[in-house]
Amino acid sequence: MSARQTSRPVLEIEGLQIALPEGSDRPLAIDGMTLTVNAGEIVCLVGESGSGKSLAASAVMRLLPEPHVRVTAGTVRFDGQDLYQLTEKHMRALRGSQISMIFQEPMTALNPQKRVGWQIEEVLRLHTRLSRKERYARVLEILEQVRIPDPESAVNAYPHQISGGQRQRVMIAMALVLQPKLIIADEPTTALDVTTQLQVLELIRELQAKFGTGVLFITHDFGVVAEIADRVAVLRQGELVEQGPASEVLNRPRHPYTQALIAAVPDLRPPKPKDIAGAPAVLRVAGLKKTFKPKRTLFGRRRNEVVAVDNVSFELRKGETLGIVGESGSGKTTVSRCITRLLEADGGAVMLGETEMLAATRSELRALRRDIQMVFQDPMASLNPRKRVVDLIAQGPIVHGETPEKARARARELLLLVELSPAAADRYPHEFSGGQRQRIGIARALALDPKIIVADEPVSALDVSVQAQVLKLLAELRDRLSLSLLFVTHDLRVAAQLCDRVAVMEKGKIVEIGPTAAVFSNPSHAYTRKLLSSIPGRHWTPPVLAGNAA
């Protein structure tokens, strides 16, 4: 333990053990965790899904879903007192005033039926004897400190009336209003867009430094760690495998698991570009438009139309990967749906080779679908849970006239191609992990021998190490089968590694398009610059570690 000498610890976790209910995948969620958070320090607890990091956070708050999940050994000391020796009443007095918490989903973490001001004020009402006037003044003050524009009207707003970033600011205001000694932040920026994420991270950092608060920051993202952490602790399957100063762990990880995790973080520097200038265009999109009209109502107030895709044009060449990057609401997913005609575009042209997709009749479209296939975002939702894997993969060829026997035999070959055992063929999707399911999704897309694959955030639901494997597979298959890939993503790191060219979208328009290396090193549009300068951990380059291929 290399705690700083200058400050005293606010949180000392020693030998913490949390038991899971019978029938879980493992008996202990957390096994023998020892961790200290000092005043004025941000400690990042990093782990993949299932590592137990969120349960550890709940354990500090004594908010575990008891009796199913409970602490079975170890101590949690806050400011010198053992939290598990306190009465519930005493513990309640600490929560919100001395220790507070920020959660992941700002939408669901606020009560939809109460005004923002009321919800912040509740903390004051619970823990102080301030008068109503004083409380109101304090709420305004803290809202100002978290830089909510126009605090006076924000006080009276309901959570659904403010944006996601602002909601997270409200959560932070709520956590900080009594200047607690310890804040537990459970993935507080994961649900936010990259530009908002950076602002929120900076805000946490700033206020924490100002108040001298200790922060236990839980995350899965090493970029965020590089952005904010003083110290880092890495959790694998409930076991703390490594901890130390941030610069140490990020640049010289000692434990193989940490090394593997860091090696899986995509580098922001794009690799050397491929030469595809001479390749023919397989997909030409010109002037694509899509507007979402509000549902017609007879007397309802007319809501504004949303222009999701506004005059978008680009080309995709044979063997090329074109990335479409942008934040949520930029229209990037709508583009992918319009091109595959899962949504009907309002205007423009999509030329697949020499055929105009948007003008195709139903039967023509069916034939065209052979050439352009999709890989979807959510590996759970994109596979029909009631179909066996072999039938899922063989479905496309069968629909297009292949005999079921041949299609199934081919499906088994495809499983090998995506590095799954042919034994997987007779299983159902729920028996597979997220990464394996995404491989099945890829096999399904390949079953029709398409020329183009449209991938809509195919790795955003996956853990970073799995993500790296799936990306590697996609790149290999693209090169081996000379596929053209249209890759929709919000993750600029992923785009940097996989894409030959990127198109940056903002509010339905492509603001910049060009070779990845050029766009990343010399962005011409202000929005692209803003995006790139918001990537968490952009100043940190993941070290290249010898003898490790993720």
């Binding site: 899971l20 209910p21 029938g23 879980s24 995948d25 493992r26 969620a29 899904s49 299932g50 137990g52 969120s54 349960l55 879903p65 199913h68 399957q237 749906r337 595959t340 899962l342 479209l365 069916r366 034939a367 679908r369 052979r370 296939q373 999709m374 979807f376 975002q377 959510d378 939702a381 994109s382 596979l383 029909n384 849970p385 009631r386 479905q395 496309g396 629909v399 297009h400 799954l420 055992s421 034994a423 997987a424 007779d426 299983r427 159902y428 028996e431 597979f432 992990s433 997220g434 990464g435 394996q436 999704g441 399904r444 029709l448």
Partner: protein, 292 residues
């Protein structure tokens, strides 16, 4: 906190076995099965108790229960054997319950799936019709239908089906609405699968479990509706019916209340059986309430 890799070496378990394992953990649900078995046995052996006609005179009128071997549960004011009425009534109740439920659910699935899948004006039109049916108090509509069509067993089944299809239709529609936008449906469309195949092969199998669970509720309500009709004397006079027995018992309520009480208990047991089974199935299908 649960997505830990499941190795593909794990032995495949059939869906039914998992369902049964979850179901049998629930003691109340098992009680439901036992009660249902009891009612089924009564229906099956009704012919042994009274092979000819449960509505014939079997002895002196108003023999109290547990006093005569020939009529263990006593007789009503017309001297009809209550035990025979109960056993044959089980047949009528189950018959009406099952067939009208199948009828109601079939209409519900048809309307709900078309409405939910296609949306737009089709959905608007079908939903207004559904609302109209829901707005008319179901028992009042049932009375009107029986008044017009007559109250033969067959017509009662149709009438009960007509007043019961709206709830499953809404349920199926809601399921379709949520499943329609799922990525696996988009994936099927992207493969070029036809609308018909998407409705019946992709969406419907996933939409059915909650509907099947809900069937037990409709069954329970159908049985209650039939008994209420028969209680008012509007049932089919040619079949033994628990509701009718209660209705007859009403006139001797002050002196011989058992005439109404015994068939009442039979109804409670039957409806309870379906409710318990429904509840058990529901928990087995979506086990989210009892969080681990």
């Amino acid at each position: 906190m649960s997505t830990v890799d499941i190795g593909i070496s794990a032995a495949p378990v059939s869906g039914w076995a998992v369902l049964w394992r979850r179901y049998k953990r629930n003691r109340a649900a098992i009680l439901g099965l036992i009660l249902l078995a009891l009612v089924l046995v009564m229906a099956a052996t009704a012919g042994l108790i009274e092979p000819v006609d449960p509505l014939r005179r079997a002895g002196e009128p108003l023999i109290p229960p547990f006093t005569s071997w020939a009529t263990p549960l006593g007789t009503d004011q017309l001297g009809r054997d209550i035990l025979a009425g109960i056993f044959h009534g089980a047949r009528t109740s189950l018959l009406i319950g099952i067939i009208s439920t199948v009828f109601a659910i079939s209409i519900g699935i048809l309307v709900g799936s078309i409405s939910g899948y296609f949306g737009g004006w089709v959905d608007d039109a079908l939903m207004r019709i559904t609302e109209a049916f829901q707005t008319i108090p179901n028992f009042v509509l049932l009375l009107a239908l029986v008044a017009i069509m007559g109250s033969s067993l067959q017509n009662m089944i149709i009438a009960i089906g007509i007043v019961s299809w709206t709830a499953p239709a809404r349920l199926v529609r809601a399921e379709f609405l949520s499943l329609r936008g799922r990525e696996f449906v988009e994936a099927a469309r992207n493969l070029g699968v036809s609308d018909k195949a998407i409705i019946f092969r992709e969406i419907l199998p996933n939409a059915l479990p909650p509907v099947i669970v809900f069937a037990s509720v409709i069954m329970a309500i159908a049985i209650l509706l039939e008994s209420a009709l028969a209680f008012l004397g509007l049932g089919d006079p040619n079949y033994a019916s628990w509701g009718n027995m209660i209705g007859m018992g009403r006139s001797v309520l002050r002196t011989d209340w058992y005439c109404a009480a015994i068939p009442g208990v039979a109804i409670i047991i039957t409806v309870l059986a379906f409710s318990l089974i429904g509840e058990g199935l529901n928990e087995a299908v979506n086990p989210r309430q009892k969080k681990s």
